[in-house]
């Protein structure tokens, strides 16, 4: 029986606590008597027979939906859309759950005589997936059957010929999605719900959308009113997507939603990485030796080699549930399943929130975690891993640990470089950035060209990363980065510190000397239910 997540009160006997630190780690002794650590739950039991669970989900759909086989008929247009490279994190070991689901769907489609089938990576404004990445997601059999015929491809949000405008919400939000999907008799959307933000109407309304449509919810106002965007019912981001979902339904777009959840088995139970999943006071002598050797080895390696090692890690995630059918009904159940793994009750807020940022976020798979992504991961994703109220009080301090190198992947993140060099050199205020710079970057022909033909994130993407953190920016009194490259950290508008002790000293200027402190021990993913 896996143990649930819990909150540890730090005392003098508490050993140093693990902080992820990019492609390395730190062990930090937290102040006794005023610190606590939020630990994730141990991995929930995986399904014994995933394929059977998938078949069962397709046969017994949730909500107002017929079974999949009843929705399939000869001559119909079927489009299978699936989450892109940003999910899950790290990528999971083969077979990816998307592959299993897609193969099951295709089996039923073939049995029903459906021969007009397209598969689309629903990547919105993310970079295109490479062949290897697509093969990993859908499997070689599916890839070889569809890709050579142009039937398996990446969504192109900048292809005017292949976008369909479907109407506007009562709030004036324009809904424009992939034309093939919009004009299909049925969309089957295949999700991996790594966190509670994923899935629901966001899958189609965001994953298949154009900039024209996305800008209505990927903006500063929406993100500031998403508290948090991990809590669907308190998230304006989701409200907007749900309104767009109504437009989709009204336009006759029929969606068969398939969502799946994974457990917390990010680093496995054997091998050197497994220690990252254990609680420090339970580390054996072997664990300690293994950790010390791993860290020493990593710290002596050049960055390129370290990055290669980490990026090659495939998580042994187990699938814990698969649901299919009507979008809302599926999403409600799956979100509860996600919470069952990740949600930990926490009493009260803290003055100082600490977090160790790992080497990966949704936008640097097989890539470089550049400083903008550091901001997004810390103030966007990790800060928002709460329900109820933020873990840290308003005006409190966030201390993140990450090397934050001034480094960018030139192919994946070209507009990030310009954003960092030019926009952030001018201002870090999200609203000002949005007003003065977004349009120029969003409509830049070169960025558009690279997004469509190379493997670049869309020109506007670094803006979204900044907006992702704008609730955190507005909420926090100070942000300190431990062990970060000073000039990068300053460019982000944050304060660099060499050690956690230095950071706590700096934080005391804002929250006083006896401030309470909470460490979010993440990953594996943990989400705080703060009361």
């Amino acid at each position: 029986m896996p143990r649930p997540g819990f909150v540890l009160d730090v005392d003098r006997s508490t050993p140093p606590i693990l902080f992820h630190h990019g492609e390395s780690f730190r062990l930090e002794k937290l102040p006794a008597g005023r610190s606590r650590v939020i630990y994730p739950a141990e991995p929930l039991a995986a399904l014994d027979d995933v394929d059977a669970a998938i078949r069962d989900a397709l046969e017994r759909p949730l909500g107002d939906s017929e079974p999949l086989h009843a929705l399939l008929r000869p001559g119909m247009k079927l489009t299978i859309c699936f989450d892109d490279i940003s999910l899950p994190l790290p990528p999971m070991r083969r077979p990816d759950v998307r592959q299993r689901i897609i193969e099951a769907v295709l089996d039923q489609a073939a049995a029903a005589g459906v021969d007009d089938v397209h598969l689309i990576a629903a990547l919105a404004l993310h970079r295109r997936m490479t062949e290897a990445e697509l093969r990993h997601a859908v499997g070689d059999r599916v890839y070889d059957a569809f890709a050579p015929h142009g039937l398996l491809y990446n969504h192109d949000a900048e292809d005017p010929e292949n976008l369909a405008f479907l109407g506007t919400t009562p709030q004036g939000e324009e809904v424009e999605i992939n034309k093939r999907a919009a004009e299909s008799d049925l969309i089957v959307y295949v999700n991996i719900n790594l966190v509670s933000m994923d899935g629901g109407w966001k899958s189609t309304a965001t994953g298949l959308a154009s900039y024209r449509s996305l800008r209505h919810h990927h903006n500063v106002k929406t993100m500031r009113h998403s508290r948090s965007f991990m809590d669907r019912h308190a998230s304006e981001l989701h409200s907007s997507n749900w309104r767009m979902g109504e437009v989709l339904k009204g336009a006759g777009v029929k969606i068969f939603q398939i969502e799946s959840t994974l457990n917390n088995d990010t680093f496995g139970t054997s091998g050197p990485m497994s220690v990252l999943q254990k609680r420090e006071w339970e580390w054996s002598g072997r664990d300690r030796a293994s950790f010390i050797a791993m860290k020493a080895g990593l710290d002596r390696m050049p960055m390129g080699a370290r990055r290669k090692i980490f990026q090659s890690w495939k998580a042994p995630y187990g699938v814990t549930s698969v649901c299919a059918g009507e979008v809302d009904a599926v999403h409600e159940v799956i979100t509860q399943n996600t919470f069952a793994q990740q949600l930990v009750p926490v009493e009260g807020q803290t003055d100082i929130l600490t977090m160790g940022l790992p080497y990966i976020c949704p936008y640097n798979v097989n890539s470089v975690m550049n400083p903008i992504l550091v901001m997004c991961l810390g103030l966007g994703y990790f800060f928002n891993l709460y329900r109820g109220q933020p873990l840290v009080r308003e005006g409190g301090v966030l201390i993140m640990s990450h090397p934050t190198p001034w480094e960018f992947h030139p192919v994946h993140h070209p507009s990030y470089i310009d954003f960092f060099e030019q926009v952030l050199a001018d201002t870090t205020d999200p609203a000002e950035i949005e007003a003065r710079y977004e349009k120029q970057y969003a409509e830049d022909e070169w960025y558009r060209h690279l997004y469509r033909t190379s493997y670049a994130y869309h020109g506007v993407h670094p803006f979204y990363m900044w907006y992702w953190g704008c609730h955190g920016l507005a909420h926090l009194g100070k942000v300190i980065v431990v062990g970060g490259e000073a000039r990068s950290v300053r460019r982000l508008g944050f304060t660099p510190a060499s050690t956690l002790d230095d950071a706590l000293e700096m934080a005391s200027d804002v929250v006083g000397r006896d401030a309470t402190m909470t460490h979010l021990h993440n990953p594996p993913i943990v989400m705080a239910d703060v009361t």
Partner: protein, 384 residues
Amino acid sequence: VKALVVKRKPARFAAAMVAGRFAPGAGAKVGPLSLRDVDPPEPPTDEWVRVRPRLAGICGSDLATIDGASSPWFEPIVSFPFTPGHEVVGELDDGSRVVVVPVLACATRGIDPPCAPCAAGDLNRCERVAFGHLEPGLQCGFCESTGGGWSTAMVAHPTQLLPVPEELSDEAAVMVEPTACAVHAAAGVDAGSVAVIGAGTLGLLTITALRDRHQGIDITATAKHPHQRRLAADLGADRVVAPGELERAVRGATGSMRLTNGQLTGGVPAVVDCVGSEASLGQALRVAAPGGTVHVVGMPGVTTIDLTPLWQREVALRGAYAYRREDFDAALDLVPARDLGRLVSATYPLARYEDAIAHAASAGARGAVKIAFDLRSERERNHL
């Protein structure tokens, strides 16, 4: 009079060249510059008057001379020994203050009728800078006959004198000559957007003059140091970027495409190079749009540069040297209007010339802009 003097000593120039390569400004210690007591320059005619400098700036062209880095081009249009200093605010014998217009054109040389450029008012293009009753010298500060600002006394022709309004401080007045250069450079720019390379004195003043002359112009500037960034933005640049970021900034601002080796398919229609180095000229050609113009304002030297983009994209390379007389009038308005006297960061007495030169040569890195000699307290000057 007390004066810093540059003598024609080849060995000293060679030593300065070596020293200057290791540390800019180091030529002051081993090169041809020395502090001396010399006879005051004789007025060439009765028209000429004595000017006792109050402040005299140190310019990039002065530094190049001191470090032995000047082009051989100047050989026939300077005369040794000379006292440097062409950015001068001084005092006439009647106590009134003047800014010296240093160009030594036909009128100052007693050449009548003047050459065609002088007749047209283009003093900076004078074709007689090595003739007439003066020794060769394109400006005061490079001519044996007139002396220069780095001394307690020099001489000037009445056509070279610009009265200084009472309310203008000496620090502001000494900025008039370099500002006139910038005004002249800005007058040559005819484009809606421009990149200004360099944010030393000349770069900052060029940004100021461009903003003043072309209100709607879009200015992208490069600046190495934080204080330069702040000043560039304050004086009118729309965006200020690090030198290595210019190509990306221009690409973004112009919507150009970028090829695999980083070169742009477009660019800005005008680039003003206020550095004049091999690197800056190369960069200027890389960011100039097809059919655009590179204005060379910073004094260049002997450089090696790939002119292929100039040829393939039909880019014009255009010099911008000194000024017309009316550029001084505009500069005299601009200096107080934009409070350009604040750019004078430090002043030195002549005796500390090595420190002054070293400071000027590393002004940017040391948080400074314009370094000048302060002659107002020189004992010899006040005894004249």
